[in-house]
Amino acid sequence: MSDAIRLEADALYRRCDPDQFSFQSTSELEDLDDVPGQQRAIEAIRFGIGIRREGYNLYALGVPGAGRHALIERYLRERAAAEPSPPDWVYVYNFDETHKPRALELPAGRGVRLRDDMQQLMEDLQVALPAAFESEDYRARRKELEDRLEEQQGAPLEQLNEKAKERGLLLIRTPSGMAFAPMTEEREVMPPDEFNKLPEDERDKVRKDIEELEDELEKIFHRAPRWQHEAQRKIRELDREITGVAVDNLMEDMRKGWHDLPAVQKYLDAVRDDVIENAGDFLGGDEAPQAMAMFGMARQNQRSLRRFQVNVLVDNSITQGAPIIFENHASHQHLFGRIEHLSQMGNLFTDFTLIKAGALHRANRGYLVVEARKLLSQPFAWESLKRALFSSEVRVETLEQELSLVSTVSLEPEALKLDVKVILVGSRQLYQLLSHYDPEFAQLFKVAADFEENMGRDIQSQDLFARMIATLLRKEQLLPLDPEATARVIEHSAREANDAEKLSVHVQSITDLLREADFWAREQGRGMVCREDVQQAVAARRYRAGRVPEKIQEAIQRGTLLIATAGERIGQVNALSVSNDGQMSFGHAMRITARVRLGKGEVKDIQREVKLAGPIFSKAVMTLTGYLGAHYAPDFPLLVAASLVFEQTYGGIEGDSATLAELIALLSALGEVPVRQSLAITGSANQYGEAQAIGGVNEKIEGFFDTCDERGLTGEQGVLIPEANIKHLMLREDVVEAVRAGKFHIYAVADVDAALSLMTGMHAGDKDQHGRFPEDSVNDRVQQRLLLMADQTQQWSKGASGDNGGEA
């Protein structure tokens, strides 16, 4: 058994010596390129963004505020600047399959140029084509064709009409066609009664003549459609020729600017063909030649000229180097783009001009940085992103299409070839979950940049830390710090790390502290932040967040929460717990009580029984039973029933840091040895009774100190902690000073016996070779009590058995 070590004040807070700094002001220090302590993450980032292989995307894991974004951005910008600018992407009309817009890849800056060129071409065509169709040349040639048709149709009719007249017949138009009839001298149709009076041979001749003429008329009628068809064909050819000349003239110069891009040349060919086939679209209805209407080229058949527009999906005309896109709203449509609709006459309408780019389009040939949590919380975004990365294609698809919620024909834009490096920024927990539950995650995100939360603390690292402080100050435009203030910030970082030998590199927290210290320095009219300002910032922050701990301390002082800080009690121990109300962590004392009676060797923890305890807590209680049996009753049955209670707790409890306290309470109850209430204890224990480190040691000590301080420090009060926690001590200044003055004590214990001795004031007692303890030691009392309980149980069992046998 070892004794408890009473810790000196200097062991409770590791100061940073300001004399180690050679500067008078942090403004003298050079900027630090990287956050110190993140070398592993930096190497991973460099590797991840450097390797251009499939699946080598990056996941930056760490706590929020660790500077992940800043570091990633810095290295991305460094690399992206040296990479070539990405191309532009445009969507154009697909003249072959209208619902499948074509994607064209163009050199950076030429997307807008193509759009402007096409717009200019359309404007020019709307002037040039009407002018061409209004020209004398066109009119004359067209009239010639139409006149020829008229002649073809009219001349035979005229001849037939003349022939009919010679035979005394009249060719007249009827509602549906034409007919022959005998005529009078007044060139009117002969009335039927007059005709009937004619001699029969004359009537027969008329009938015969009419039949003959009808045959001829029918032949003329049969030939007419062929003439019309031929005329229409010639007129169409003429229209095409006129349009072709106008289009070619206008496109000649434009084409020269695109000779280096076969895809654009092909598109322009399709545009030319479409314009020639649909020249009527460019002619105002009123101005359209009458004959144009005849042949279906008038206004009513105009199709929208929107099809000649160019939708510049991604314009990289001003992009320098590879693009870096930080997408804060990682929804499906923000990542993959969307297809918008317009309302026309109550109907929704869309076309390729309404396709909008997503972050993946903008980040193509570059980098996309997304918050993992936001991405995963957006429906279908994660699945779609994986699919895009696997296929190396990005396709604009609405969620409705993805889910087949709409069956109407919509657009199916051509997919773009995707070459992007995705950087997910997220927590460790998400990384673990994705690794375990999504087999594709590991295939796509092969590089993990693991951000440290702490760094080692020594003279060199403190120097580096000072430079980081200087860098942050300059970035935030804050007042510089003197060496004392710098040292205080470093000490605070150690406290934030909950470790005297570590420094927290949580950039956000450090920056916040610097901002707040800057505020207090300015309040004092200082041009440089001194130690008092940092101290004030820390104290003010603690005060602002101190409502809940204050209420707990108040409840203790008023006797609402029963915590004794003096006297002795059997089976009652001051344990320590740490809580977090969202703003800060704080500790406070809790009373643990133990009661024992005959039983079957069970230690029941009431919290566990009512399911107010977590699994680690339950494990600790079971460990107690193991220790109890092995340590005190290796060769006789452990026939005790013990109950342990965390008094006045109303919520769940988790963790094993109260194991030592529970054990002390239990042993006190078994040995009927009183425990000093002026002491509190925290620490875990294993089955061999060794004290094990716990978390939140500083907050726990400070919590009990506050309770004692309120009541008045007696010099008897103190806290027992595991020896393994000594290195974590970075206690508040008032606690340290109280210890220095001998008003409060911190003890480090290596095992249960050391704690038992100190807390009971009796020697715990070492076990001899026979497994027995020295007489009147605490352990002996416990063992004797257990033996007695075993014996009593045996006696009771025999009695009960005998009674039963008697009855039998």
């Binding site: 009827t174 509602p175 549906s176 009808e214 008329l217």
Partner: protein
């Protein structure tokens, strides 16, 4: 007279007649006139249908059909109904008062009879084609005998472009100039062709014409001083007016009238001074 108050339009199913209907409706709205539609059931068709071997050949060459008085009556009644609907639609669209009448007999006679109490009769005309007489007998009769002004409208012409008035200083041409200003579409440019027998009359004619113009009326003058009928026809065709306005034949002679009407792709308005 402030303008035509009743406009008669001769209706049939030809493209020219339909163009006439729409032009007449538009004019009636602008002049706040009533539109009267007249469909004449041609007695020639009724006679034809009564003949024992009456038969019509369909225009598309798709066959023949025997005719009877009943089928002809029915066809004409249907035609009348359809034309009445078209008249109503055109009038209602422009909020013009309208009425529809049918008559039976010789077309030009019925038309002439109906022109009484009307200020203007609008009639469709076949489009200008070479080698064809464009003026049918009905149009010719109307121009010669109508008691009111006559407007002949070929299909496919628009109520825009230049309105050209032929002005020789006579009463009928003065009336024509006045009426032209009333009937002109808002966007239609007005031009005047001064017909002077001798050049010395040009100034006088121009002053006369100018005095008849409304205030701020922009106008372009053209002159024709000498030449035969062919030269005059050529001069008119060169100016290619969308609407040609002339007085009562203006002593032009049949050659000029036939020449112009036969080749001009536009509307012809003959104004008859009814004052």
């Amino acid at each position: 007279m402030s303008g035509h108050r009743r406009i008669l339009v001769a209706l049939d199913t030809s493209a020219g007649a339909r163009a006439a209907l729409h032009r007449a409706a538009s004019m009636a709205r602008r002049m706040e006139a009533e539109l009267t539609g007249l469909f004449v059931e041609d007695q020639n068709l009724l006679r034809l249908a009564g003949l024992p071997f009456a038969r019509e050949l369909f225009a598309g060459g798709t066959g023949r059909r025997d005719l009877s008085p009943e089928t002809m009556e029915r066809a004409l009644a249907n035609e009348a109904l359809q034309l009445q609907r078209e008249l109503k639609a055109a009038a209602v669209e422009l909020d013009v008062p309208w009425s529809f009448h049918t008559a039976r007999g010789r077309v030009f006679q019925e038309l002439l009879a109906a022109t009484v109490n009307h200020e203007l009769v609008a009639m469709g005309m076949a489009d200008a084609r070479p080698g064809q007489l464009r003026l049918g007998s009905n149009a010719r009769h109307l121009l010669a005998e109508s008691a009111c002004s006559v407007m002949l409208i070929p299909p496919g012409t628009l109520p825009t472009g230049v309105m050209l008035v032929m002005f020789d200083g006579r009463a009928s041409s003065r009336a024509a100039l006045s009426r032209a200003q009333q009937m002109r579409e808002p966007e239609q440019a007005l031009e005047i062709l001064l017909l002077a027998e001798v050049p010395g009359r040009l100034t006088e004619l121009r002053e006369q014409a100018s005095s008849l113009l409304e205030r701020d009326q922009a106008v372009t003058f053209h002159i024709f001083t000498a030449g035969d009928a062919a030269a005059l026809v050529a001069a008119v065709l060169r100016l290619a007016p969308a609407t040609l306005v002339l007085g009562e034949l203006q002593n032009l002679g049949a050659d000029v009238l036939e020449g112009v009407l036969g080749r001009l792709h536009g509307t012809v308005l003959q104004v008859r001074d009814t004052q």
